[in-house]
């Protein structure tokens, strides 16, 4: 097991390095324009070519490429994420400010996914080829194909405009108004959780179906156990193992989905911050967010790999 973890960790570190280089290269394509935009937006009458030069010096863009990379990397690791071009604020502080909102959204969306996805998959597998199964399978396919922002619009129209139950957009902090906080999170987290729930339902269904056709399940039935006991005591546990592998996928989906849903629902979280940064070509913010997002996915995949190997010894021995 130790050897397995070491190999996976090495692999993850190599990939992380390539990611960091890619992010650095891509974001270096951005500047220039960003400064012109910032200078124009400031409304101060200045010689813009000269100002851009001063700014480039300030952000260290006049140094050789590899030097820029090293300086940036060392700063980033030591917690100096630079200053936003748009707001002038410290990027790390901005990140920590916005983080709780996005995490709340993730928390509710995850809860929603598991509460819907797993039971739906189990019911669908146990009632294979029935009407219920058809309905759940088709529902999962649709849930996977719907553009989340469109689903959001429909939900806003139905449950905020026609039937004003939830607020159409905006954020209320928990400290200010706990109930209002939950209400403001309800629609966005439901939409964010939909595709994950659909994915979970599909995986749970096929995994449970596979397990149910195995010899040990037949044995359990043959010794006279009731169907309920067969499923809960024997089939469920091995059926859940492959499901672990989709958690990484779902997590990446949450990160991607929150970018656009925070925009639609006007939630001032990390996604909204990044989209705003992209509009302003605010590269220190974009850079930091890209690293964070990919680090997250990488970390999640690593955990999933290790967990999977722990749960299923066959993987370790390969």
């Amino acid at each position: 097991m130790g050897r397995f973890i070491a190999i996976r960790l090495m692999h993850a570190l190599i990939v992380l390095f390539i990611v960091i280089v890619l992010v650095f290269l891509v974001t270096r394509l951005i500047p220039g324009d960003a400064f012109l935009v910032a200078v124009a937006a400031s409304g101060v009458e200045v010689d813009s070519a000269k100002t851009v030069k001063v700014l480039e010096e300030f952000y260290g863009l006049n140094k050789p490429f590899y030097e820029q990379f090293l300086i940036w990397l060392v700063n980033f690791v030591s917690g100096d994420w630079g200053e936003s071009i748009g707001t002038g604020g410290d990027v790390l502080e901005m990140f920590l400010d916005r983080c709780p909102i996005t995490l709340q959204l993730f928390f509710w969306a995850t809860l929603w996914q598991f509460l819907i996805g797993i039971p739906a998959g189990v019911i669908s597998a146990l009632k294979r080829n029935s009407r219920t199964d058809m309905a759940i399978t088709t529902g999962a396919l649709i849930g996977f194909a719907i553009p989340p922002f469109w689903q959001a619009i429909v939900m806003i129209y139905l449950f905020a405009v026609l039937l004003p139950i939830f607020p159409p957009s905006g954020y209320v902090s928990f400290a200010e108004d706990p109930m209002g906080n939950v209400m403001s999170m309800a629609l966005p987290s439901m939409v964010l959780g939909t595709s994950g729930a659909a994915l979970l339902a599909r995986y749970v269904r096929s995994s449970l179906l596979e397990v149910m056709s195995q010899d040990f399940v037949r044995t359990a039935r043959a010794k006279g156990l009731g169907e309920r006991a067969v499923v809960t005591l024997h089939a469920m546990k091995p059926a859940m193992i492959p499901v672990v592998t989709v958690v990484g996928l779902i997590w990446a989906g949450l990160l991607g989905g929150s970018f656009i849903l925070e925009f639609v629902f006007a939630l001032p979280g990390l996604g909204r911050m990044t989209v705003d940064a992209i509009y302003q070509r605010d590269f220190p913010v974009i850079q930091a967010m890209l690293i964070i997002v990919s680090l997250n996915v990488l970390f999640m995949n690593f955990i999933v790999d290790v967990l999977y190997a722990y749960l299923d010894p066959r993987v370790r021995l390969r």
Binding site: V19, I30, I142, P147, W150, I153, V154, I260, V297
Partner: protein, 296 residues
């Protein structure tokens, strides 16, 4: 059915047609998917004939009007006919999805073939870049590219290709590793076939089945991605219509004209769903092990 060992590229095409026929005849959902795609492609192709108005024709006296006999789906915020905009928008969305996916497939298949066949350092280099790109959620990657390259239809297409090739490379590499060791490849090698000939004539055709499935699913994903990026204003630019862009304009006028955003959303969902249905059917038809099993 020809065995997979002796099909060539042209034979591969026949296999694809046969698989398509099989999927459409025997797999109920892919029948539905196929006809939805046919319908959407036809309406997009014949948009100039079908559209009752020019998509850019403004009528400022008739802004955000609801559905009427003159404008079946109403008009937008500068009085353009929505039905016509959606028909023309379909051209942009579908074409972008198709072209970017095919380009991504061409690049991904070539690199995957190379990685799987050559192995060693080339393989390691290509696959680590693949892993690195896969660390970004799809949308986040596209947004980053929009920031780096700027918005617009062409740049969005470039970004879609830069992300999409990764999946094809992965699939093809895996297939090549399986096929490479089969006796018929060894026989061809013994008969003196060059590396290039081995790759293109003997190995490639036998890796194509999952690629076809991935193309079908990829088109759906690309359509979804286009709509998301255009929704954020970083894709297709005005005055061009695309489903994603119309959806955004509709969202800005949600209370006055709900159909404005609801219809393009339905069109996007339908096309993605149709691609997924057809992809599932093709997967079953191309994999003989699954054939004859449960038919949904």
């Amino acid at each position: 059915m020809t065995g997979p060992e002796n099909i060539r590229l042209s034979g591969g095409f026949m296999v694809l047609l046969r698989a398509l026929g099989h999927a459409i005849r025997h797999h109920r959902l892919s029948t539905i998917g196929f006809f939805i795609i046919l319908f959407l492609v036809a309406t997009a192709a014949f948009a100039p004939l079908l559209a009752p108005y020019e998509p850019y024709e403004q009528d400022l006296y008739n802004v955000l009007s609801g559905p009427s006999a003159a404008h079946w789906l109403g008009t937008d915020n500068v009085g353009r006919d929505l039905l016509s905009r959606f028909l023309y928008g379909g051209r942009v969305s579908l074409l972008l999805g198709l072209v970017s996916t095919l380009l991504a497939a061409a690049i991904g298949v070539s690199l995957g073939l190379l990685a799987g066949f050559k192995g060693g350092l080339i393989d390691a280099a290509i696959m680590r870049v693949v892993d690195a790109i896969l660390c970004f959620p799809f949308l986040v990657f596209l947004l980053a590219m929009a920031a780096a390259l700027g918005g617009g239809l062409i740049n969005l297409g470039v970004a879609l290709v830069l992300f999409g090739w990764v999946f094809f490379a992965r699939i093809v590499r895996g297939q090549v590793l399986l096929v490479r060791e089969l006796p018929y490849v060894e026989a061809a090698r013994a008969a003196g076939a060059s590396s290039a000939r081995l790759m293109w004539r003997h190995i490639l055709p036998n890796t194509l089945a999952p690629v076809i499935v991935a193309i079908t699913l990829g088109i759906g994903n690309a359509i979804l991605a286009e709509s998301a990026i255009s929704f954020l204003g970083l894709g297709v630019q005005p005055p061009t219509a695309s489903w994603g862009k119309e959806l955004k304009s509709g969202f800005d006028n949600l209370e006055l004209a709900p159909l404005y955003s609801i219809v393009p959303g339905i069109l996007i969902t339908l096309s993605v769903l149709a691609c997924n249905f057809l992809g599932d059917g093709l997967r079953d038809a191309l994999d003989p092990r699954l054939r004859g099993e449960e038919r949904r």
